[in-house]
Structure formats: C-alpha cells, structure tokens
Symmetry: C2
Subunit: 310 residues, 2 copies
C-alpha cells in the first residue's frame, strides 16, 4: 500500500524524531478483516498492518483482547475505530448519524468504549425518496477523500467491495448514498449457485467482461442474463473459463447503469483489481472515472475526526 | 394433486376395467425430485407418486436401480421421462431440440436408453437475439398445455420454480423462451447472504410482498433494492418478519416487469403457492393471468409424445 504520509524505505526518520512518533492508532475494523495504522499527532502513517480479526472472528466478549493484540503490535496508544465494529454484531452498537453528514457530525457523535482506550466512529444512515440505506466505515473514506484534497466537495464516489457504496457528496458532506450488493451477489453465485461450475475463473478486464458490461448496459435484466451464463456454456457458445469475467461484467455493468448519468465523473475508492474493473466498465458505458487512494482517504478522515473531537 | 384423467375416490373402476389399466409410466424427473404417473393407453392417470430421487440423489451408475424402484411401485411398464434426467449430470446427456419446437419435434428426437425400458424426451434450446437459453422438462408442460386444450396455441406461459421459464408459444410451438433465475436467487439470499436473518419468514401475498412488487415495477434495480431490505430493518422501518415477503415481491416483480407487456395474458404453470404470488404480482403490474394445471399439462404432453413416436 502507498500513502502520502507514510515513510518510504530509505526515508531518514532521524531528521524528524518527534513528528514521526506514533501517538494514536486508526482502525478500519470490518466484518472479515481489519487494518490498523499507527498515526502521528499530525495525521501521518508510521506503521500499518492488516489481519483477519474482523468482527465475525471475535468471540463474545473478545473485543478487549482483540484490541490488545493490535496495541501490542503498534504501541500502547489510544485508538479510534470505524466500520462494522460499531454494528450490532460488533463491539458495541453505535447509533447512525443521519445524512447529510460531515466529518464534524461524525466527530460529535464518537462513542468511547467504557474502560477501554478506544472510541468508535458512528456510521451514516439515509432515509428519503421512499428508501433506506446504511453504511459503516465507508463514510470515513468518503469524507476523508475530501479532507485529503483527493476529491472535490461536490462529487460522486464509488466504493466497490462486498457492498458497493455510491456516495453523492455536496459541499463536503454525504448528501445521499445507495448501496448495491454487487460484490456479495458475485460471491453468492460463485460459491453456492447452479452457475458455480461456470464461475471458477478469476474475473478480469477481458473481452468476456466487456461483453457482460455491454449486455447490462443494454438493459438486459440480471435474473435472465445470469442464467444465460449457464445456457451459453451448455450450448458451446462461451468457454466455461470466461464465465466469471462475463458474470462480473453483467453485475458491475448493471450496478453502474442503474446509478449514474454519464455526465458525472466517478471517483473510485477500492483495491487495484476492483478499481480497474470499474474504471473499464464506466468507460465502456460512456463515463469518466478517477482512481482514489482509499487508504490515504481513510487515514485523512480519521485524523480529521480526531482533531475535531478534541 | 388433481388431474382430469385421474379417478377420484369413490369412482367405480369396475365399469371400465380395460381402459383404466396402466400401460406405461410418465416421469417428470428433475434435479431434486421426480414425479411418476401410471398412465392408460389413452393418456389417463391411474396412479401417481412423488419422491426425492431427483438426479442429484442418484449415484453414478444408479439410474437403472432408481427406475426399478419406480416400476416396482407402479408396474413393470415401459417408461417415458422428461427433465434433467436427460442432462449431462443425469442418466444420459440427450441433445437439445432447437426452438421453434413442437411435440412432434420432441417425439422425433426421443432417445431410448439401451437395454432399459425407458426413453428420454429431449430438452429445447434457443439461440437468437444475441442470447442463449435452455430448458429440460418445461417444454413438455408448455406444449402439453396446448394439447390438453388448457391454453391457446399462441400464448405467453410462465413456469415459476427454481428457474422460471417464460415461453412464447406460436401456432402450438415453442417459438422463444427466457429463463429467469428468480427462485434460485431467492433461495441463495435466504440461505447464504448477509440478508438471511431478515429472510427467515415464508413469503406470502401480503402488504410487504405487494410493496416489493411495486418497487420493482417502478424500476428500482435489484442490486440496491435487495440491500434496502437489510437497511430498512436495521433502521426500524420494516419488521424483520416482513423481509421474506418484501424480497420475494422485489424478485418476482423484477422478473415480471422485465418480461412482458401488460397487454398479453400470462398462463401460469406452477404449484398453488407460487401461482398465487405470480397472479397477485401480475395484477399489481397491470396484467392478466390464468392458472393452469401443470400436472394435467405434463401428462397430456407426454401422452401426445408417446402417440407421435409410435
């Protein structure tokens, strides 16, 4: 991972011994994984690591110990966490902040865990237009991207993953957002569906992927288009090895086509592989996109929340 | 089950001892279940039963024994089977007949299993409009519904189940069809997704179901609308007990909205529960529907195929 505030190998740390001392820990604590950053007082990253101690792996009552292992590694520092650690299945159920929401709104609603050196950032809820939505963790990335100067205060963000968050920022606040279960749907189909024999490969930005994006962009409905993966392989019209790319293209294409007008550039915060797939699909559907460093956005957001909460 | 050709309790069978003698067995042999009918020479049902010896439960080389148990029960008669028993994972992979397809086309392409008292009806394939589709078993129901006089020769049929088949009949032939994995998608979400805690109830034709149908009919995309089930429960806007009905409404509504113009009446061949849900959803979306006895359609189709193949 790269981060503007993180020292590269060879950087001289002796020239600024004070400023590069870690003072706190920022944690992106999700459902299956967590990533922790040892942070300087002014928001630079000194050290980081990722492990699989997501909330689903923590036994009841096990969160203090799970935090302790992290502090043994990064230092006995106060911690600030965001993500599903604040959900009902996490350490403590932290109430959502309703959109529109700013970093100041999140900072004002931080919840310290009693007797533990950690506070948890609330998630954001949305209720309007006859629908409901929720996020936990992505709000820090989205607002942090603005704080870090990586995206403008009025922008459309796309945060692909298990649940893709499409965020509309207005004046540096989360005005509206929509969650699409694109990643989870692909995982369900790949692991458990009658299509699974045709989805064994890894999805890549290849000809089959682009065909799937185009079919979804033409308005083909998912329920029938997905079955078409099976039919086309059975009839010898598609190699089974291309099934994963085509199905991924269908899902990502449907996700993009449902969400945005091509006139708005999309700022994508994701890992390199998903960013490449979404950038390719957005371009195919006539749009523009920018790849944003999601780690830099997260740590900038957490640093700002910490400042605002002091 | 009810069937026009089947004697009700109290019918006097002594008055027609010859005509009510079973001469052959019709089998609807699917992936998880099979249903067999002891049939008279003129296509009436003398006896029937259903068990869970679908093809997935039959071990390699086990089909002769699986047929034998069925003949022990219904008589040592010649059998005619349709369904996934003719798929690659079934008894023998029987080539598809390409649409447009009639009962005569199916009869001409019957495949007897060597050394066994059974022949298997081929499935139907469709390739046009840049897409592929396949069916195995539903073709007998669809064409049999016409043979039995239950639907006109030009009609739209809907066969909900794990994979819903929408069939366009023209002049008594299967002209085109589209498969939607509506039922499988619901099962995947209910068993394996992060929504599963909200999908524990049984879907019913209630207010939540109708709300889901309406939301899908308004064009709300499935990837985000399905996540909305979770968000609305977390935010206290929907009872978790209503999640299954709402999600079922979304899926069935999306399936119907993608497939048909409200001007065409839809003939539904399914069990009573699914028929009721599809009829309600079609009415909500401005269409008309008729419930068709799928067992009567199947046995009429098989009887006609047997006649045509003699």
């Amino acid at each position: 991972m790269t981060n503007p505030g993180q020292p590269a190998y060879g950087d001289s740390m002796e020239t600024e011994p004070e400023t590069m001392t870690a003072k706190w820990i920022a944690i992106d604590w999700g459902t299956t994984n967590r990533r922790a950053y040892a942070m300087t007082a002014d928001g630079r990253v000194v050290d980081t690591f990722r492990d699989d101690r997501g909330i689903l792996s923590v036994p009841p009552g096990g969160f203090p110990a799970a935090l302790a292992t992290l502090r043994e590694r990064l230092g006995a520092l106060p911690a600030l966490a965001a993500g599903t650690v604040g959900a009902a299945q996490g350490w403590q159920n932290i109430p959502y902040v309703a959109a529109p929401a700013s970093l100041a709104d999140l900072a004002a609603a931080l919840v310290p865990i009693e007797g533990e050196p950690i506070a948890i950032v609330p998630g954001v809820s949305f209720m309007a237009d006859g629908r409901c939505d929720v996020m936990r963790g992505e709000e820090v990335q989205a607002l942090g991207a603005v704080a870090a100067g990586l995206v403008p205060g009025d922008a459309v963000l796309c945060q692909p993953g298990t649940h893709n968050k499409w965020v509309e920022l207005e004046q540096g606040r989360i005005a509206r957002f929509t969650t699409a279960m694109t990643g989870e749907m692909f995982a369900l189909l790949k692991s458990h569906s009658l299509l699974r024999d045709m989805l064994k490969g890894e999805a890549a930005d290849d000809a089959a992927f682009r065909e799937g994006v185009a079919d979804a962009g033409d308005g083909r409905d998912l329920l029938s288009a997905l079955f078409g993966v099976r039919a086309s392989v059975l009839l010898g019209k598609r190699a089974a090895a291309d099934g994963a790319s085509y199905a991924s293209g269908l899902l990502i294409g449907a996700d993009i086509a449902a969400r945005r007008a091509p006139s708005q550039p999309v700022h994508i915060l994701a890992d390199a592989r998903l960013t490449a797939l979404y950038q390719s699909a957005i371009a195919l559907l006539g749009g523009q996109s920018h790849a944003i460093d999601s780690h830099a956005a997260f740590t900038a957001g957490m640093a700002q929340i910490r400042e605002l909460a002091r």
